[in-house]
Symmetry: C2
Subunit: 251 residues, 2 copies
Amino acid sequence: MADNTTILKLGGSVITEKDDPETLDGAALESAAAAVATALAEDDDRRLVIVHGGGSFGHHHASTHGVSTTEGTRDHVAVTDVHGAMTTLNQFVRSRLHERDVPAVPVHPLSLASRDANGELTLPSDPVETLLAEGFVPVLHGDGVAHAGEGVTVLSGDEIVTSLASSMAAERVGLCSTVPGVLDDDGDVIPRIESFADAADALGSSDAPDVTGGMAAKVRELLAVDAPAHVFGPDALAAFLAGDDVGTRIE
Amino acid sequence: MADNTTILKLGGSVITEKDDPETLDGAALESAAAAVATALAEDDDRRLVIVHGGGSFGHHHASTHGVSTTEGTRDHVAVTDVHGAMTTLNQFVRSRLHERDVPAVPVHPLSLASRDANGELTLPSDPVETLLAEGFVPVLHGDGVAHAGEGVTVLSGDEIVTSLASSMAAERVGLCSTVPGVLDDDGDVIPRIESFADAADALGSSDAPDVTGGMAAKVRELLAVDAPAHVFGPDALAAFLAGDDVGTRIE
């Protein structure tokens, strides 16, 4: 893949009201869309992939049906509930981007990815790379995924980010979260993490229940990616897209 | 892929009112869904992939935006119109199947496929095969597809069928069309086609304008597939699914 590819994760907790089922945080999403539009307008060569989490859309249905990244379902109603809610959220995200002339197009992971019997993910990046090269902004999302021996399990936005970052040799990865970075025991942002030991003490738990893992899992996955990754809050999104070091830098 | 995989194309002209934009032929779709449900209930081991065409949903928008299988667009509004209409039709198809307990799940080709600069299609079959093995009925559809150098072009349901039939080594392929088979100059069904010459005289033209090609293109593509293919009308769908030779057999 060409240089200059950024993969941006918009956390589900950022763009939805995580405690109210299927409720958008409209103001937060508008603000994120505006930051993306500004960044793209300032740099025509930038290639941007957006991945968003499930927040109160996906997690709600996954919990109801007892589906996780390892526990699957063969019930098409469960699959339809999870995937349908995520598709709805994806439409909201794309429409807010379209309002600002960001050429967002959907890429639904349930259509693209699969897991083998060991849970190993195959997520071909060809469609995403071709869409990028043609000037579009692919928008993916946490979703269900066909899983050999399990039916359909959950595929988190974070796992999509790490998979694409590796297969596409992305230049930068950003995780826009509800917190301003990975926090230490005093609640201060850890500026740089180069090994899990750098933050192990602080990563014992996460604030809210999350079927797809909390900050510890994010850090472990981002350490395995070649590209530098940043974890930051919504207020730092514009600065991240402008190329600044924001929040916690993980590499 | 295991034996016993059938790929069934439901023609866009069968399940929609082709002359009225975005209008379903509800009775025809219900009838097709009932035939599918009956066939699956009678044979637990059957693996069925359904692909549907665009009919008055996809073709309408593709024509409006001047998009075809070779002429692309880089306008996200055009992509959203075509893909959105096809996603809506796909939801109708799946909901009618769900009403009869067919475990249909969507696979959107825009998320999965891409074309290189020569127009050659890459359509990984892993997600479809994993969904099948887990007991689901994947439902694909004509769609847009990222196309190197062209933006997004049209991917026809027929092209999806021939691609999957080859990559998955399907046992049987069925094209449920508005006509009872490939017709000769007298309007009679040609029972068997083993080379294009067998039907060349009759395949000069097709009834209605169709951005993705008429019967001649279908026959050419089906001749290139290893599995026997049948072209038949809606009345013969149940018999096809029961294993009968119906309409025109192409191999």
